[in-house]
């Protein structure tokens, strides 16, 4: 299924027509290319999570249009029409462990596929595959999800989304509050999934390292609207501009810039691998000169 996404002049207001109306988004226009890894950044309260709700058809835009694959969503769209498109979208919310409720881990993971019409056997099979992928041991399948540790709960919740075999995977700060090893493992899982199934992935994150390392495309939010869109190299080129938006460049680029000031010339360094490669090349070069 084609899963490119386009936001065209989208505006969204919470509780419209009441005294409590608060604007969430305004004039939001951007693209999420199909089969690529898109990162969404912006400081807290810039509208990223509101955008996610529009992206999954959980709420309707107040103005403008959202195109999800072939489905066009406007303020007039019936929410029921969106059930079909939602079955192709996997959405991992912030702290997804809060959504677990079934008696056993396995049942909870089967819940999503079953809701979208899979038979008991099919749901069970895809649940087992998903649990395997996130690294939950077989012995835990029949346990209550509430007996697990926080990290395991997070994995089970993510498995519940992966089991739906989505074409589009939206991740809203999936690694928040995990230890470094857990963060690394999850990010690896998401990139592997993306490569293996050519998924369209949207990652909302505050960690610029992930953006530099994994993203093909970056969207920058500020004050409820998109202020920049482009490749990671484009976005990280203007450090002063990012600082002004309360964002930053990845540590590897900061280090490369500091080296550049002392006369070491490096080009387009975004992540630590690129940094190491270029430094190694230069050091070897100097050794050869001597």
């Amino acid at each position: 299924m084609v899963m490119a996404i386009n936001f065209n002049q989208v505006g969204f207001t919470y509780q419209p027509n009441t005294p409590f109306a608060t604007p969430g988004l305004h004039d939001v226009s951007f693209n999420i290319p199909e089969g690529q890894f898109t990162a969404v950044i912006g400081h807290t309260g810039s509208g990223k999570s509101t955008m996610v709700q529009n992206l999954d058809g959980l709420v309707l835009p107040t103005t403008g249009t959202v195109t999800i694959g072939k489905q066009v969503v406007t303020a007039e769209t019936k929410l029921k029409e969106l059930n079909e498109v939602r079955s192709h979208i996997g959405l991992v919310f912030q702290f997804p462990e809060a959504q677990l409720f079934e008696q056993t881990v396995l049942k909870d993971v089967m819940f999503g596929p079953k809701n979208f019409g899979a038979s008991e056997e099919v749901a069970k099979a895809s649940a087992e595959v998903a649990l395997e992928k996130v690294g939950i041991a077989h012995e835990l399948y029949e346990r209550s999800p509430f007996e697990l540790s926080g990290g395991q709960m997070r994995r089970v919740a993510i498995a519940g989304v992966i089991a739906m075999a989505p074409d589009l995977l939206i991740l809203d700060e999936p690694t928040a509050g995990l230890d470094p090893k857990g963060q690394q493992e999850l990010m690896q899982l998401f990139t592997d999934l993306q490569k293996e199934k050519q998924l369209t992935v949207v990652l909302i994150t505050h960690q610029m390292e992930y953006v530099a390392q994994y993203a093909d495309h970056v969207v920058v939010f500020e004050h409820g609207t998109v202020v920049k869109e482009g490749s990671p190299a484009d976005i990280f080129a203007d450090e002063a501009w990012l600082r002004e938006k309360q964002l930053d460049v990845p540590a590897a680029k900061q280090f490369a810039d500091a080296l550049a000031q002392k006369g070491v010339q490096l080009h387009d360094v975004l992540d630590i691998d690129q940094l190491a490669d270029q430094l190694a090349a230069q050091l070897k070069g100097e050794v050869n000169h001597v």
Partner: protein
């Protein structure tokens, strides 16, 4: 989900009513419910309506806000009104068609019930719209103090009340985000027959309860770590003070009550 409910929400402002002591507003709101029953003729209800409108004007929020607030309850009000209309069988018969008999007493009673309902809701909405929930809790605690001598654990009740009030918006947000997460997993809230609908709320309620219990444990630990050991020996940070305007409000209300009682003998 609850986006249009105005009842029970606070709207910031700095009007004369906003600045009144929470105790004044609490007592007067409760007193109003009793006082309204003294009205038994048109003049009485006109006075009560004018008094309510005057109080609403003093909040500086506009009548529109209050009318929108009443809207969710309109169905309930109509049902009670219609019950009065159809089941009160005394007085002169106005309409008699098949088994339906509408009488003059029925019409009068239904109007009376409707107006009382409306005024009571409007008047109590003034309290919630202009008083911060925590101030309401403080006011309650202060008003319940005399019952301490009867063994009522007033400070514990006040603590529970203020914690409950503090967590209403948090739990609402959490309910909304769990609901979104389950909808993303294919749950269809508000679709299908009664049983399907009830079942669809299980994936919302269980996580909500589990998270509330977790939160309670964490909050209890955090309170103990900060030296909380029960209510009696505590000092207060927010101190309620009685001002001149509270006296004026109470006197105004007493005058209103006297006038309302007087109307009973005018007709």
């Amino acid at each position: 989900m609850f986006s249009n409910m105005i009842i029970g929400r606070y709207m910031p402002g700095n009007s004369w009513i906003h600045r009144l002591d929470a105790r004044t507003k609490l007592v007067l709101s409760i007193a109003f419910i009793f006082v309204i029953f003294f009205a038994n003729n048109v003049i009485g209800y006109v006075i009560a309506t004018l008094f309510t409108l005057f109080a609403i004007m003093l909040t500086g929020l506009g009548v529109g806000v209050f009318i929108r607030g009443v809207r969710p309850l309109i169905l309930l009000m109509l049902i009670t009104t219609l019950l009065q209309l159809f089941f009160v069988q005394t007085g002169d018969v106005l309409v008699h068609w098949w088994f339906i008999k509408i009488t003059t007493d029925g019409v009068i009673n239904s109007i009376v019930v409707f107006v009382r309902f409306m005024l009571i809701i409007m008047f109590s909405t003034i309290l919630t719209l202009t008083t911060q929930p925590l101030a309401v809790a403080d006011g309650m605690e202060s008003l319940l103090k005399p019952f301490k001598k009867l063994g009522l654990p007033v400070s514990e009740l006040a603590l529970m009340l203020s914690i409950a009030l503090r967590f209403v918006p948090t739990l609402m947000d959490e309910a909304q985000s769990i609901m979104n997460a389950q909808r993303a997993r294919g749950v269809r809230f508000n679709e299908g027959g009664l049983m399907t609908r009830i079942k669809s709320f299980v994936p919302l309620l269980i996580p909500l309860f589990v998270n509330a219990i977790k939160r309670a444990i964490e909050l209890g630990d955090a309170m103990e770590a900060r030296g909380y050991r029960g209510g009696d020996q505590r000092t207060k940070y927010r101190v309620l003070t009685w001002h001149m305007q509270d006296t004026i409000a109470v006197i105004g209300f007493i005058i209103f009550t006297v006038v309302l009682i007087a109307t009973r003998w005018m007709m």
